[in-house]
Amino acid sequence: MLGKLDEITARVRQRSQEYRLKLQVCCGAGCLSSGAGELLEELKRAVAAQGLEGEVGVVPTGCMGPCNQGPLVRVSPDDTMYEKVVAGEAAGLVECHCGRGEEVRAKLLFSGGEGPVCERASEHPFFRLQRRVALENCGVINPESLEDYIAAGGYRALYHALTGMSREEVIAEIKQSGLRGRGGAGYPTGLKWETVYKHVSAEKYVICNGDEGDPGAFMDRGILEGDPHRVLEGMAIAAYAVGARKGYLYVRAEYPLAIKRFELAIKNARAQHLLGSQVLGTEFQFEVEIRVGAGAFVCGEETALIASIEGRRGQPQPRPPYPAERGLWGKPTLINNVETFANIVPILIQGGEWYASIGTPKSAGTKAFALAGKINNTGLIEVPMGTTLRQIIFDIGGGVPDGKRFKAAQTGGPSGGCIPEEHLDVPVDFESVVKLGSIMGSGGLIVMDESSSMVDVARFFMEFCMDESCGKCVPCRVGTKQMYDLLHRICEGRGTESDLALLEELAPMVKETSLCGLGMTAPNPLLSTLRYFREEYLALIPRRAEGASVGPSAHQP
C-alpha cells in the first residue's frame, strides 16, 4: 500500500515538473465570493489561448490567508502574489508574467494598502512571521484532489501509525507533543485520547467538532475548505489510537463549501481504501459520516453536540460523566476540534518532541487565528504560541486602518474578553490570555479601534449569549437576559450606578452556577470591558454625562 502512495506521489510530481510556472488561485470562501471561480476559468482560457498549456499550470487552492485582498493568485516558483485579480485581468496577467516574464507591479499583494508591498511573498511580514503547521497545505494544494494531498506527504502518517506503531505509542507521541485542544478549552489532547483508549467498550466514536460558532472565527472553515484530507487523516489516526471504528464530522450548515469538500474527501478516500474496511491493507476499519448542524451556538459544547448528532435538541448534560467515558449513544467518545485534528499528522511525521519545541513550554505548537475587524490585513494566519498580540496585530495584521488608534483586541468570541493596548506585549498562550480576563478561544481575533464603544461590544455579546442560551438551566437563561437588559439600559443612556453594581453581582453568579460553558463564560466580555474600560460605562450613566447613548441594538429581542 505504501507503494501505491509513492506511485501517486511520483505521478503528481512528474506532472508538476512539466510546468515551468504554476498559477495557484485561492478558492477559499472569501476569494470565491469575490469572483475567484470565474478567474480560475479565465486564467485557464488565457493560458490555452496563448499557447502556454504545456508549461503553465492553473490550479485552485484553499485559503491563502489575506482574505480581504481577494481574489488572490500566487505564481510558483516565482514566489509572487497578486491581489484583487478580476477575471477580465486574467489574459493580461498571463501574457505579462507567464509570457514575457515581467511582474505586474500594480497588482502585487498589498500594493493597494497602507503597509509594505509584497514583493516576495515569503519575505513579507504577513507571511514571514507566520509558522504554518495545521495550515501547511492550505492555500498550496488543490483541496479537491486526493492525489495532491498524497503528493504533499498525505496518508503517510496514517500508514506509519497502522503498520509501525502500537496504539499506546501513538498516544505517547501525542502526549509528548504537548498538543492542547484548539477549540478553546486547551485540554491536553494526549490525555483525552488516553482516557478514551482506556475505557473498555466494543463501540467507541470519534467526533470532529466543526461547529465553529464564535462570531468572528473562521479557522476551522479555512482548514476544512483548504485541506479536508488532513482532518480526515487526523481523525483516522485518532480512531486507531482510541479503538473507534466510526467517526463523525459535525459542521455548521453555514459552511456549504466545507461540507461539499469534506464529502468529496470522504468519497475519494474510500475509493482508495484510505477509509472503510481494511484501511491501507490493514485490519483497521474506519467510516466517517458528516452531520450538518442547524444553527445553534451551544452545539459547540461537547455534550450538546452529541445530543445534536443523536438528532435531538442541542441541550448540554452535566459533566461528569465526560464524553470520553459516556458520550455518543452512551459509548466512550473522543471529541476534538478541527484544528486539533489538523495538527496530528505533522506530529506523527516529525515527532512529538519537534512539536513541543515550537511555542511556549505550557502551550506547545502553533495556533491559527482569524484576524478581522478594524485591521488592515484581515484573514487567516498561524503563528507559534507565545507570539505577542502586538506582533500579530501590527506586524502581521498591518495595524489599524485609516490612521485610527487601536483600542482593544477581542479574543474568544462571546466566551472571551477584550484586551486593551497596555497588554499588547503579552505572549499569546492559554494561561496568559486567561490572566488578562479573556480566553484564547478557538482563534477569532477581532480588532476594535477608538470608534468602537466597548459597552456596545459587551451588549452585543450578551445579546448573542441570551439568544443562544439553550434554556435548560436558569442562571444562563435568566441571567443573560437580565444582564442584557441592564447593558441595554446603560447603552441607551438610562443606566444608573446601581445597574453597574447589579451587573457586577450577577456576572460572577452566572459564571459559577451555569451548567455548561456557554453560561459559565457568557459574562466574560462584560467583565473584561468593565475591568479595562470602566470609564466608558460611567460616561454613559446620565449623572456623569447628560444624554449619551450608543444607539439601538441590532436585534429586536
Binding site: 470562501a29 462570531p215 448542524g293 445553534a296 438528532g311 441590532a554
Partner: protein, 179 residues
C-alpha cells in the same frame, strides 16, 4: 407557534391518513428517499429536516407531520427540534432572501447601518418578508466571511464590504428584476 403545535398534535391523535401528502409531489419522494437512506433512524432527524428545508425552502407543517409519521418520532419532538435550531424556519421565506451577517467583525464594521437602512428604505425588519413574498430579510450570527466584513448573503451569494445605500439599490434591482 402554539397554533402550529396544536395542529401537529391534532394530526397525531387521529393519524388515520386523511392528510396524506400528495404522493405525486417529487419533493416528498426525495424526502422519503433520504429517510430510506438513513433507515428512518431517529438520529437522522436533523439531516432529514435539512432535506425538507432544501426541498421547500422552509418546513411546511404537512412535511413536518410526514417526517414524524414516517420516522416514527413523536411530532412534539420534531417540533422541538425544528424550533430549537435557528436554521430551520416554519414560515416560508421570500423569493429572494437577504441575510445580513451581524457577527462581531461585521458588527464593528457597520452591519447595523445596513439593517437600519433596509428598515428605513424598504420597511423590512430582520425576520420579515414583503407582503408579496418577493423579498425576505434575515440576520445571521456569523457566516465566517469576517475578512469581507460587513458581509451580506443575497440568494446564496456572498456580497463583500457592503455599503448600506448600495445594498438597498441591489435589493431594489433584484426584486424589480423578478417581476
Amino acid at each position: 407557534m402554539a397554533r402550529q403545535y396544536e395542529m401537529i398534535m391534532r394530526h397525531s391523535r387521529n393519524s388515520s391518513g386523511t392528510a396524506e401528502p400528495p404522493r405525486t409531489d417529487t419533493r416528498y419522494k426525495r424526502i422519503a428517499a433520504a429517510m430510506q437512506k438513513h433507515q428512518c433512524r431517529p438520529d437522522a432527524l436533523i439531516e432529514i429536516l435539512h432535506k425538507v428545508q432544501d426541498a421547500f425552502g422552509y418546513l411546511p407543517m404537512e412535511a413536518v407531520r410526514f417526517v414524524a409519521r414516517e420516522m416514527r418520532v413523536p411530532p412534539s419532538r420534531v417540533y422541538g427540534v425544528a424550533t430549537f435550531y435557528h436554521f430551520f424556519s416554519l414560515k416560508p421565506k421570500g423569493k429572494h432572501n437577504c441575510v445580513i451577517c451581524t457577527g462581531t467583525a461585521c458588527h464593528v464594521r457597520g452591519a447595523q447601518a445596513i439593517v437600519n437602512e433596509i428598515q428605513q428604505q424598504l420597511g423590512l425588519r430582520p425576520g420579515q418578508t414583503t407582503a408579496d413574498g418577493k423579498l425576505g430579510v434575515q440576520i445571521a450570527r456569523c457566516i465566517g466571511c469576517c475578512g469581507l466584513a460587513p458581509a451580506v448573503v443575497l440568494d446564496d451569494q456572498v456580497l463583500a464590504k457592503v455599503k448600506p445605500g448600495e445594498m438597498v439599490e441591489t435589493l431594489r434591482a433584484r426584486v424589480g428584476g423578478a417581476r
